[in-house]
Amino acid sequence: MVPISTLHYLVVAAALFVLGVIGVLTRRNVVIVLMSIELILNAVNLNLVAFSRIYGLHGQIFAIFVITDAAAEAAVGLGILIAFFRNKETVNMDEVDLLKW
């Protein structure tokens, strides 16, 4: 077998990214869209850490910051979801179609 090189990890990260984008574009449930966004962020992290093996530790530090930001964004996104659900009683993305209700 071919020895595992950086390219293998980049292809896995690209596949995860594509899965996340499919989830964001095709699902109706808001919670699952948020989880697909987490998949995208994870793919980016894998890319960063794979490159940091070549170029030094900067990639890993960037990955730590990305994880921190993902936590903050998940918290705020889920807060918005709860506020939305309290008003409209649905988690369907297609129902989010008014600027103010």
């Binding site: 020895p3 950086t6 390219l7 293998h8 990890y9 980049l10 292809v11 896995v12 690209a14 596949a15 995860l16 990214f17 594509v18 899965l19 984008v21 499919i22 989830g23 574009l25 095709t26 699902r27 109706r28 449930n29 919670v31 699952i32 948020l34 989880m35 697909s36 987490e38 998949l39 994870n42 992290n45 850490v49 940091s52 093996r53 070549i54 030094g56 530790l57 900067h58 530090i61 990955a63 730590i64 994880i67 921190t68 936590a71 903050a72 964004e73 998940a74 918290a75 705020v76 889920l78 807060g79 918005i80 979801l81 709860i82 506020a83 309290r86 009683e89 649905t90 988690v91 369907n92």
Partner: protein, 169 residues
């Protein structure tokens, strides 16, 4: 110490992560999706360990799998209604969405294979024993400003999430 069975573990862990990713976007029940995402995150932590990044793997398990996913499960339990599981799961433009995403993926793979000569194949010697210490030296040295901004960002996110989810402000 020589790594053991690198090829097997790489294919096993990346297969686990990708299959869990597919399960995340295709399950009808959001709790099953969340469990599949936890599996994907744990597989990813294993991939980080293979890339000689133990600290990032530890942070991934504690923060992502142990913190963010607990938050997701809480919110799923708060907003889960049976009605959403009986509705149509995929929206009307699913074909175009999948085609666009696959085109993006093909673009990525083309960039990687055609541009393989651009990044060096030599591997930097990252000794695993002092990974945490070196990350700490860089984090509190070069990246101190970014660190403080990240903590400010977390403070703003906490306040924002509390305000959004309160019943009355």
């Amino acid at each position: 110490m020589q790594p053991v069975a690198t090829t097997f573990f790489f294919y096993f862990l990346s297969g686990l992560t990708l299959i869990a990713g597919v399960l995340v976007i295709t399950r009808r029940n959001p709790v099953h999706s969340a469990l599949a995402l936890i599996l994907a995150l744990l597989g990813q932590a294993g991939l980080y360990l293979m890339l000689y990044a133990p600290f990032v793997a530890g942070v991934q398990i504690i923060l992502y799998a142990g913190g963010i996913m607990v938050l997701f499960l809480f919110v799923i339990m708060l907003v889960n209604i049976e009605k959403s599981q009986k509705e149509e799961q995929f929206n009307k433009q699913w074909i175009v969405g999948i085609l666009a995403a696959v085109a993006l993926g093909v673009l990525f793979v083309l960039v990687y294979t055609k541009g393989k000569s651009l990044f060096p194949e030599r591997v930097a010697q990252l000794p695993e024993q002092s990974n945490t210490q070196e990350i700490a030296v860089m984090l509190y040295g070069n990246y101190m400003f970014t660190f403080e901004i990240a903590s400010l960002l977390l403070l703003v996110a906490i306040i924002g999430a509390v305000v959004m989810a309160k019943k009355r402000i």
